[in-house]
């Protein structure tokens, strides 16, 4: 899946780096580095990161509405 972070908005809260550490990582105190092409199995974690970002800086495709998809992602995993 594809994603992009608006690094003008990003303020280094690092929520994404906790929720999807294979995709997002802090580099120094405040810089974020991320993989713009996350593995498909990261979808649920990325959805949570998108929803949790305090400044809503992450755009990922295939997630319809950040909050909703994080919720439905959880439901899907609970159902499994």
């Amino acid at each position: 899946m594809r994603l992009v972070v608006d690094l003008n908005k990003c303020q280094g809260y690092a929520q994404c780096a906790f929720l999807a550490p294979d995709v997002f990582a802090m580099h120094g105190e405040e810089s974020l580095v991320y993989n713009p092409r996350a593995e498909e199995e990261q979808r649920e974690r990325v959805a949570r990161a998108v929803a949790a970002c305090p400044v809503q800086a992450i755009t990922a495709d295939g997630l319809d509405g950040a909050g909703e998809s994080a919720a439905s992602g959880r439901e899907a995993s609970d159902a499994r």
Partner: protein
């Protein structure tokens, strides 16, 4: 513009976007989001769908991202015809046609130009062709450079210590490679942030083991018998032995294809009004041609109505959205592009961000943190007001300073309750180089008439 024309345009008109990168894509999405139901064509010179460039000098070189997979996520379906891998070669404004390099022609009712910039190549062509000499602009550039860096060159030479050059130098050091950086100005980043901040950046270079040479030019690159670069000659007489050279001398605007079209386009970009409508070469604003992104230059009310050219990611997005909205809106609903310039860079594990237009600054004042700690906010003043701010690892404060810039808050600033430091808070000269001297190229270019500029004298013709 009669309302029925706009209704027709929105329903079944043809909109062509030249430039299929960030600005082009976001404009296409905005057009569809705002109800454009006609035919949409995107023309791009690279044979790839829109991809993101900032990771190419950062995450890619740190091994965190694949250079060939930074494609931008889509905000929505855009149902467009894609003409990729073919550059536009000419514009016929009268016939409303874009000609492509393969001879095809595409007709439009409204046109958006978002052709962006390209890397400025090493000026001596034979030397630029040497094996081991790179620029970094496209994904192919980044892929090739990363491969060579992984192969372990003996020494990397980076020509130009702007943001891109600094980011690449930083990545090289993280890979454990020996790096020399040559910069014509007195320090890194001085074109964009001035000498005070440049000296902090220079300290970062030194601490991280970069061999930084300032106040020098590279006068020539030397190849071996099989055409691989082996050394660079500097203007101070020194020679740097290197097997990998990255030319990081800023960029050039992609406007050549508009030569002779009658549009107000040239090396400084395409002039447009604050509503993104292009000017023709006579200075008359066009009705059907819009501009967005790195290639545009437009007047900004907050900065003395100077024409700003901004090579900023955020500007490409914001201006594309405004241009797209205005393309399909009556004049009463049009919006001005009044985005406050902002950018970021990450180098030597430090997050550098800025808002406003630092190169307009006459003075700088460190208002929070300290230069010695590499964690601070600096505020730039111009004629008694705040014009810009820069932060090193202090991004959460920038929004506050953006509001201060927007309201024209006075400078020098007085924030008596914030972060008092013993070294005092005095404005000092921001120390920007003379803009007429070429450096690595600032990412903001002021290129308009300024009411305060008295260097220009009008001489009437007889």
């Amino acid at each position: 513009m009669p309302a029925d024309y706009l209704d027709w345009l929105r329903r079944e008109g043809r909109i062509v976007i030249v430039g299929a990168s960030l600005a082009g894509l976001r404009a296409a999405e905005t057009l569809r989001a705002e109800g454009f139901a006609g035919e949409l064509t995107l023309i791009g010179d690279e044979p790839y769908e829109p991809y993101d460039r900032p990771p190419l000098s950062k995450a890619v070189l740190l091994g965190k991202a694949d250079p060939l997979h930074t494609e931008l996520p889509r905000r929505r379906e855009i149902d467009a015809k894609w003409r990729l891998g073919v550059p536009a070669s000419a514009l016929d404004m009268t016939a409303k046609r874009v000609r492509l390099a393969d001879g095809d022609e595409v007709e439009y009712d409204r046109l958006l130009i978002a052709t962006g910039v390209r890397a400025r190549p090493w000026p001596k062509e034979a030397e630029a062709q040497l094996d081991g000499v790179f620029v970094v602009r496209t994904r192919g550039d980044a892929a090739a450079l990363y491969r060579r860096l992984k192969a372990g060159p003996r020494r990397v030479l980076i020509i130009g210590a702007g943001f891109a050059g600094s980011e690449i130098a930083s990545a090289c050091r993280e890979m454990g490679l020996a790096v020399t950086v040559a910069e014509r100005a007195g320090g890194p980043l001085v074109g964009a942030l001035g000498g005070v901040i440049g000296s902090v950046s220079a300290e970062l270079y030194h601490e991280n083991g970069v061999d930084l040479r300032t106040g020098v030019m590279v006068t020539g690159l030397e190849g071996d018998s099989v055409g691989r670069v082996k050394a660079a000659h500097l203007s101070d007489g020194s020679v740097v032995e290197t097997d990998l050279v990255v030319v990081s001398l800023g960029s050039m605007r992609n406007t050549e294809w508009l030569t002779g079209s009658g549009l107000g386009a040239g090396p400084r970009g395409i002039a447009c009004d604050a509503g993104c409508r292009a000017f023709d070469f006579r200075g008359i604003v066009t009705d059907d041609i819009f501009v967005a992104g790195d290639v545009a230059r437009s007047p900004h009310a907050l900065f003395g109505y100077q024409f700003l050219s901004l090579e900023h990611w955020g500007n490409a997005v914001a201006q594309a959205e405004i241009a797209a909205h205005n393309m399909i809106s009556p004049s009463s609903d049009r919006r001005p592009h009044l985005w406050v310039p902002a950018f970021w860079s990450s180098q030597f594990r430090v997050n550098i961000k800025s808002v406003g237009v630092p190169p307009m600054g006459e003075q700088i004042m460190i208002t929070q943190g300290s230069l010695a700690e590499r964690r601070f906010v600096g505020v730039y003043g111009f004629q008694g007001r705040i014009i810009a701010a820069v932060s090193f690892d202090n991004t959460r404060w920038l929004e506050f300073y953006q509001r201060e810039i927007e309201r024209g808050a006075p400078f020098p600033v007085e924030y008596p309750t914030v972060d008092r430091r013993p070294e005092g808070r005095q404005p000092v000269p921001a120390d920007f180089p003379d803009p007429s001297l070429p450096t690595h190229g600032p990412t903001v270019t002021l290129s308009g008439y300024s009411p305060t500029d008295r260097q220009l004298v009008f001489t009437p013709a007889h």
